[in-house]
């Protein structure tokens, strides 16, 4: 009997400990309450902001490449708002031009230094923009730090309207996704 009670007390102690850890983790995430018992991974939150979230090239002509690398128009800027180094992937839900192959050199993307250089694993030369759903997302920024004033990279876009592309407005949504490294 006494042996069983000891066993149950032991189990209760373990249950309370595990439950307390979970509760503290949640509380810390939701309130910001600083409790030293919480696992440090809680603070490793990846968050990004597009400080330049819209790029409009205006008028473009068939066969002539236009890029944001000359700052006209300015490129996308990805700011690490989190508290950990991050990788950032990029994808475009659909192609930009009706007569260009889905993924092609008519629509390209690369990383360029912002307030900090493009980190290891970044694509610093143009690659064809991945077209499609999340599965095609490709890392464009590697190891972007979070220290203030050294926490953003530019993402250049280059487009070239293909031969015979009909006149008119074209547009695309580009999704940037951050993950904690």
């Amino acid at each position: 009997m006494e042996k069983n009670s000891t066993f149950i007390i032991g189990l209760l102690a373990v249950a309370l400990l595990v439950s307390a850890m979970g509760t503290l983790t949640v509380v810390t995430k939701t309130t910001g309450l600083a409790i030293s018992l919480v696992n440090t991974t809680v603070s490793a939150v990846g968050d990004i902001t597009l400080t330049t979230s819209s790029v409009d090239f205006g008028g473009v002509y068939i066969g002539i490449a236009e890029a944001t690398s000359d700052e006209s128009p300015p490129p996308f800027v990805v700011l690490n708002d989190g508290s950990a180094d991050i990788d950032v992937t990029v994808r475009s839900a659909a192609g930009l031009f009706s007569l260009a192959p889905a993924t092609s050199a008519y629509y390209r993307v690369k990383c360029r230094a912002g307030t900090t250089a493009c980190g290891a694993g970044s694509q610093t030369s143009y690659i064809n923009m991945p077209i499609g759903g999340p599965v095609v997302a490709t890392k464009i920024i590697g190891t972007l730090g979070f220290t203030n004033f050294a926490d953003d990279n530019k993402v250049d876009i280059e487009i070239t309207a293909p031969y015979r592309e009909p006149m008119g407005a074209v547009s695309a949504n580009i999704t940037f996704t951050a993950t904690v490294t």
């Binding site: 069983n4 009670s5 066993f7 149950i8 189990l11 373990v14 249950a15 439950s19 979970g22 983790t25 949640v26 995430k29 696992n39 991974t41 809680v42 490793a44 939150v45 990846g46 968050d47 990004i48 597009l50 330049t52 979230s53 819209s54 790029v55 409009d56 090239f57 205006g58 008028g59 473009v60 002509y61 068939i62 066969g63 996308f76 990805v78 989190g82 475009s92 930009l96 031009f97 876009i157 487009i159 309207a161 031969y163 015979r164 592309e165 009909p166 006149m167 008119g168 407005a169 074209v170 547009s171 695309a172 949504n173 580009i174 999704t175 940037f176 996704t177 951050a178 993950t179 904690v180």
Partner: protein, 183 residues
Amino acid sequence: MGTSNTTWVAGLLVVAILVSAMATMTVVTKSTGFLTARVGTLGATVEATPVITMVEPAWLDFGNMTVGQIANATTSIGWGLMIDSQSNDDINITIGATALWTRSPYDITSAKYRFMCYTGGGRACPDGSITSWTNVPIGGSTLVTAYLNTTSRTTEVNFELTVPTDEPWGSKSSTVTFTASLA
């Protein structure tokens, strides 16, 4: 507490521990694998652009000719120079060239070197195109195909050569330049 009850309580506690541990792991996993997605927009406006490309072969070789001989490309060679429109709007095409003959006055525009938009090959020569023999402008340019549209995109230009009677023997060549503009 009987043995049966103790077993029950112990079992429930084990379940409680497992549930609690799973919840804790879920929170921790979410924190470490956190994903943030942001969507930017990209836009541009494709403008009307006059673009043409030459259809290969982009050269004509009339071979050996004798003074006074007349030849035209479509009968002597089988084809003229063909141009494809890669434009997204109607265009006009002009022609200009360097001199073919060296004997004056044939180094300037003359009836010894003529062109026309060729209608015989089923290519496009819309209204306004030059469909009768016209002197090739040397150092200038003149219209050859007008209002080439985005449906019938290929035009063919025929050439007629007449060797001047006092033209020195030897190889002759001329560079022909086609220029597109919006119609």
